[in-house]
Subunit: 325 residues, 2 copies
């Protein structure tokens, strides 16, 4: 089976890890291929190094190197280099740059500077983390540099744009956002393999990633939304909200910014033109959608651990079979 998932960082990475665990535990599914299309709107240049937070979280989570307690960054991490950068007065200091993590940014930046496209850089990084052996293909959504910015009020009554990472990490999404602007996205081209991965998939999954600033950004890459509308594969999503609250992160602030109800149905509405089925928490069992089938998971829709996540992924795959029958 060819499964394609669009993903942001922590939520997407944990979902795909659970999905892969389910596939590996099912003899009939073990040779399935999972293609992950990662959001790169979070990418940021810090200290001259190119950081790709969602790709890194996917690499570390799927490769067994993530700091489990926080869901991102490297386990057994130190921060020696960052303390040196601070001693030199280099800014910013609000983005945690661990030493192990920095190794990734240094090699990525070196390869990019040599002209290697981000998709090939990602493939090289993924090789170190053993993703090909696990039948996971990790693709950045685009090879074009794009960056999500958040438009907020400035002190003079005007507006200013701050990088998404600054809004998310430094301000914890607490600055009222007026809108999101993704610099470069309108001129971006989907990375090699992305559109085919959607068109030729047997199943397309939308993990419980942020619907606005993660999956929403991937959907903005020219051609992606058309590919989702046109694919013969069932498209099944997993709600990132339970009873109108995000399990993790600031999806509520993001949804309010784009004027979408902070509900499982509200999120599904963002995918209305291509969504075939929607998996929700039992608390949201009453959700109805005009086009897509809604099912409630038989337990809390929480990715508590790999096993629990595998059961959620298994349910999503059953839903895919059901709606394509």
């Amino acid at each position: 089976m060819r499964i394609t998932a669009l993903a942001g960082g922590v939520g997407g990475a944990r979902f795909v890890r659970g999905l892969r665990h389910h596939l590996d535990s099912s003899p009939a599914l073990a040779d399935s291929e999972v293609t992950v299309v990662a959001n790169t709107g979070d990418d940021i240049s810090l200290f001259g190094l190119r950081v790709s937070p969602d790709v890194d979280t996917l690499l570390y989570t799927l490769g067994g190197g993530v700091e489990e307690s926080q869901g991102w960054g490297r386990a057994d991490e130190s921060h020696v280099v960052q303390s040196e950068l601070a001693a030199y007065g280099a800014l910013p200091q609000w983005f945690a740059l661990g030493d192990r993590d920095l190794g990734t940014h240094v090699v990525r930046s070196q390869w990019l500077a040599q002209g290697v496209p981000p998709s090939e850089v990602t493939a090289r990084l993924a090789a170190r983390w053993g993703l090909p052996e696990r039948r996971i293909r990790l693709l950045p959504m685009t090879d074009t540099p794009v960056e999500t910015h958040v438009v907020v009020d400035d002190e003079d009554g005007g507006e200013r744009a701050v990088h998404f990472q600054e809004w998310w990490v430094r301000h914890q999404a607490s600055l009222p956002a007026k809108r999101f602007v993704v610099a470069g996205l309108d001129r971006a081209a989907a990375a090699p393999g992305v559109l085919d991965a959607i068109r030729q998939a047997d199943v397309v999954l939308l993990p419980p990633s942020n619907p606005v600033v993660s999956i929403g950004i991937v959907l903005g890459v020219p051609g992606v939304r058309d590919a989702l509308r046109g694919t013969a594969a069932p498209v099944v999503g997993v709600s990132p909200l339970i009873s109108g609250r995000p399990v993790r992160g600031h999806a509520d602030a993001c949804l309010r910014t784009v004027g979408v109800p902070v509900t499982a149905a509200g999120v599904a509405g963002l995918y209305e033109d291509f969504l075939d089925a929607w998996l929700v928490d039992p608390a949201d069992a009453g959700t109805t959608l005009p086009r897509a089938r809604v099912e409630a998971f038989d337990g809390p829709l929480l990715m508590t651990d790999v096993e629990a996540t595998a059961r959620i992924a298994a349910h999503a795959l059953r839903l895919a079979t059901a709606v394509s029958a």
Copy 2:
């Protein structure tokens, strides 16, 4: 007093540290200014980062952050980032890149990429290490990127050039060198302040740095040699050899490569056109030079510790006074 010293890495840094110690211990000399003109021919790009080994050794030694046991690199160092680079298969691995040290390379590379010239980058780095407060002005010899390469025989009977660092660090100067080639040096311009620091000095000192690949490279910057010939200041050198052997490093291999006798007199010959006095070890007391005054130090010419080095520097300053009287 305005003192200008040309310097390579470990030897130059230790000498200037001892010199500064002597000045600080002498009320009449405490407000002397020391300008250090550093060799940048050792500079190398590793993993997309610009490393300037001699400048870094000067910063760390004069700023109190050096790993004393080896004379270069940072004390209390770790190598987490390098282990990550190795895990990604990034090359080369023969150059030790500590995490603390890497912080310097990251900020330098960021500033250079922003268009800040190396001399201004060096000034910013020196500020963190407190050099201005210690009345030490650290100047790279040039803002032009230059790189010393070593021409060696290749396996096919031809020649190939390897970067100086590879020859020095990886091969420990054991590959027979045919000649040194400094890429970019003929078109380099002395960095701002360098020529004036020589012309307007009260004393010019040549520490016991490598005469070929450290001081010799600085002398190759257009204008430097003329400034030394023309300055009214006495030029006093400290021999890097004792009884025909380098105290440290591979000056013997370098001297043989350029066809110069591996003796205190041989080294002084490289400076013949501008050298006024030459301080040697008691073992070399019989050295005579056609133009310059030779004196033997009253003890081993070894920079064993800061106090011993301060005494050597003090002797060099007395020699300067003697020859200019």
